[in-house]
Structure formats: C-alpha cells, structure tokens
Amino acid sequence: MIALFTIGFLVAAVAAGNPTMAAPLTLPLRDLGLAFIRWLGDLGLFAGRVTRAMFSRPFEGSEFLRQLDAIGAKSLPLTALAGAATGVVVSMETTDSLTRFGAKSMLPAVIIFSLIKETGPIITGLVVSGRVGAGIGAELGSMKVTEQIDAMEASAVNTYKFLAGTRVLACIVALPLLTLAADVCGILMGWVADTLHEPVSLQFFLNKGLNGVTFSDVLPPTLKTLVFGLIIGLVSCFQGMNTSGGTEGVGRSATSAVLLSSLFIILADVLLVRLIIVFFS
C-alpha cells in the first residue's frame, strides 16, 4: 500500500515540478518514466555532491549562520502563527465532538498529542517549504541565469558547499527548532481557545494534557522534521541551481521548489509515521 502510494506520489511530484514534464498528460508513459528517472538521478547526484562538500574542510561557518538566520529565525513568526492557529482550530473542532461523546476532559490531551505527534511537524514542514523553498529557488535561480553561480565557480568557489551545503544544513537544523516553537504556540493557543469556552487554568490544562506523554511521543515526531529540512533544502537548491530560461525560468524554479518539497514532505511523512509506529510504539 505504502509502495503504491510512494510511486504515485513520486510520479505526480516530478510531473508537477519538472519543466521537461510540464504537460505529462500529453507525454507517452515511456517518456514520462524516462524523464522521472533522469530527474531523480540528477537529484541523487546533486545530493551526493552536496553531502560530500558539506563534510569536507574548510567548513562554511559564517555563511551557515547567515543562512540559519535567514531560514530559521526569519521563519519563526510564520511557523509560530501557523502553530497557534492550528492549536485554536484543533481546540474548537474537537470540543464539540468530545462533549458529544462525554469525553470533554480529554480535550487537553487531544490538543497536545495531536500537535506534538503530527500537526505541529507537518504544518511546520509545509509552511517552511512555502516560505524557504520559494526563497531559495528564486534566489539561486536568479543567480544562475545572471551567471553569478558561474562567476563563483570561476573564482574557484565550490558552489555545492558555499551555496547548497549551507542552505541544506540550515534547513535541517532549523526545522526541529521551528517545530518545537509551533508546538508550544499551538498548545498555548489551544488552552486559550479552551479557556474562553470554559475557563480552566493553564497548569490544569498542561497537567491533564501532558499526563502520559513520554519522550518517545515527542522526540521521533520532532526529529522527523530533520528529514523535512533535508527535503526542503535539497530540492529547493537543486531546482534553483538548475534554472534555465531567464526570468520565466526563475519563476518556474521557485514554484517547483515549493511544489516538489511540499509533495515530498507529505510522502516522507507517510513513510516516517509508519517507521515511528514500527520502532517506537
């Protein structure tokens, strides 16, 4: 089932994001398959080069910190807001249902479990893929079409390390931290929404909700966003650094970076949830 889901998603993702497959319905199935394999192969080679560059000396410390600020710190308000909104929505949606089934006292646990196990990580992944994916795709795409990346390579700079490696690493480091921020904001706003409906103290809400929560409930779902960060960084850098076709190509790269990283995050989430259930339940 998961294998079928995976194949379907991969084909949809590549068809949606790859300019050479812009009209997948008009392409014969064989060409579609070949384009998909070629794209995946190129992405794999790119990932290999970036990984090798990332772990070779000298490290790009200052550029990494600059990217961590641009990708992590500047995404914080948006992810916090998304987490807060999710907390409110979960609270409002479940209050009625739980009251109907006589389980109103379970509301704090439902909000907290829902946020830390699934909603927080996936919302953070998707929000960051939208903001950061578009930014990286457009920035690197613009540098590519104006020959700035060529100029950097001509200046003996390893662009896999300086441009891609720093961004990928910043995405990997930032995602779990942003997820924690989204979780905390979601839980707090979930309490606010709950207490507006029926006053309850924060301490009581947290005691009720966190009762029974273990590290294996928090750590694996939070750490799975490391993979989301890897996906956002790799896919966005790959799409950006392979831009062609002038300003139109830059727009296409930005769009496909968001689209592909979002789709791959959803796919990865399915696989990772399955793995977490197998290994941590």
Binding site: T146, E147, A154, S155, A156, Y160
Partner: protein, 246 residues
C-alpha cells in the same frame, strides 16, 4: 604530448548541445604573455569555448591543458586550484547582486587569501582604483552603469593576480570611450605579461590589443594568425565579417 611551455592548449575540442554542434574538433594554443582574440559572429561558440577553458562546461571530446594541467580529468578541488590562476570577465560582468562593489572585489580575496579585513579592503580599493573606480564603492551592482560593472568585474577578475585572464565580450554594449578604456586596461595587463584570451566581435578593439587572432565559424577555426592573415583570407565569411566591421 603538448609542450607545457604553452599557457593554454586545447586539442580536438568538440561540444554539442543536443543536436546542435557548437565546436567541431577545435585546436587552440596560447603562449604565456600572449593576447589572443577569438572572433566570430554571435552563436559560433566563442563564449562556450571560454567556459570550456575554465572548466565551467565539459567538452564532449578533446583535451584542455592550463599550464600543463589537463583540466578535463581533474576533480572539482583540483580544478579549483587551477582556477585560482585564472581570471574571468563575464559578458554581463556577473557581479554578485547582494554585495556592494567593494565586497564583490573582496570576495575572492576573502575566499582564497589569509589577508586581514583591513588589508583585504585596502587591496580591493587598490584594484578598483586601478580600473578607475574610486567612489560609490558601497553601491550595489544594480545602481551602476554597464561600463562600471565591467570595470568592477575586471577588478574582481584580477583580485588573485591571475597568470591567465579570459574576457567574454569585454566591450559589448559599451560606448566607444568606455570600450577604449577597457581596451587600455587589457593592454596594461599585456604589458605585465598576463596571458589573455579575448572573445569578441569588436574587430576594432581586437586589433588594438591582440598579438594573434582566431576566427571561428560553425565550430571550426577559419583563421589562426595575424590580422594580415585575416585580411588575406578569401573565405566568404571572413570577407563579409571584415566588410561588416568596416
């Protein structure tokens, strides 16, 4: 085996993009300190040739040696060591648009030298001054003219004191005065025995700066020699090229 005495040697270079054959077995050699102009109309593979020579693209076949190093088989790190000895001026200058003019010139110094911050800035100011830019150093590339961009690009290309410098259409899109100033800067490099390869379709500038000329058409070398050799050629393309150049 080619003589390592040559600064640049390309042999049997072939390059295609899809079904389009751009370079068809091209041979080229440039001696140290020599200035060679590569002429030809747009789309004849002149810029592709330069990008092959600095390893930004890989040839489909053939060999390229820079100072005796075969760059087509080098790893990226080894290639980057060779690139440190080469300066490259792009057609549109390709300045980093998020960095100021000064930071653009400082960039290669920051990457490849151990100079302290003040020394780097001082060196970058000196390089910019050598190309005639002494003010507006904090401006971004988007805020300056095309001629100024070329000058800053040239200053950045010279930052690591390269032995070889490649120019892609250095005077394209410039007014005659600025074009003459760029030509003067290339002549200044020639006086310092820097090896130069200049891709251009500006015959007037090429004549004023070059020791030797290579004329390309349809991926082949039509002439490799002096300007007199070009003038003596009866090839219809060259006759037309000279006529159009006035």
């Amino acid at each position: 085996m080619t003589s390592p005495k040559e600064a640049v040697v390309a042999a049997g270079i072939r390059k295609s993009f899809g079904k389009l054959l751009v370079l068809n077995g091209l041979d080229l050699s440039v001696a140290p300190g020599e200035t060679v102009s590569v002429l030809g109309r747009s789309g004849t593979g002149k810029s592709v040739l330069l990008k092959l020579l600095i390893g930004l693209q890989k040839p489909d076949a053939g060999s390229i040696q820079i100072d005796g190093d075969e760059i087509t088989t080098l790893s990226l790190d080894q290639l980057n060591e060779v690139r440190k000895r080469i300066g490259f001026l792009f057609q549109q200058a390709a300045l980093y648009d998020s960095l100021s003019l000064l930071e653009n010139v400082e960039f290669p110094l920051r990457r490849h030298t151990n100079l302290k911050s003040e020394e780097r800035t001082s060196r970058a100011r000196e390089l910019l001054s050598n190309v005639g830019i002494t003010s507006d150093l904090e401006k971004l590339p988007a805020e300056i003219s095309g001629g100024m961009k070329k000058r800053v690009g040239l200053a950045r290309a010279l930052a690591l004191d390269p032995k070889i410098i490649m120019f892609d259409e250095p005077t394209a899109g410039l007014d005659p005065v600025t074009a003459a100033e760029i030509a003067w800067l290339i002549l200044d490099l020639k006086a310092r025995h820097v090896t130069s390869i200049v891709v251009t379709h500006d015959l007037h500038t090429a004549r004023s700066i070059s020791d030797r000329f290579i004329v390309l058409d349809a991926g082949n070398v039509l002439v490799d020699g002096s300007f007199d050799d070009i003038e003596r050629s009866k090839h219809p393309f060259i006759v037309q090229f000279l006529k159009d150049a006035g």
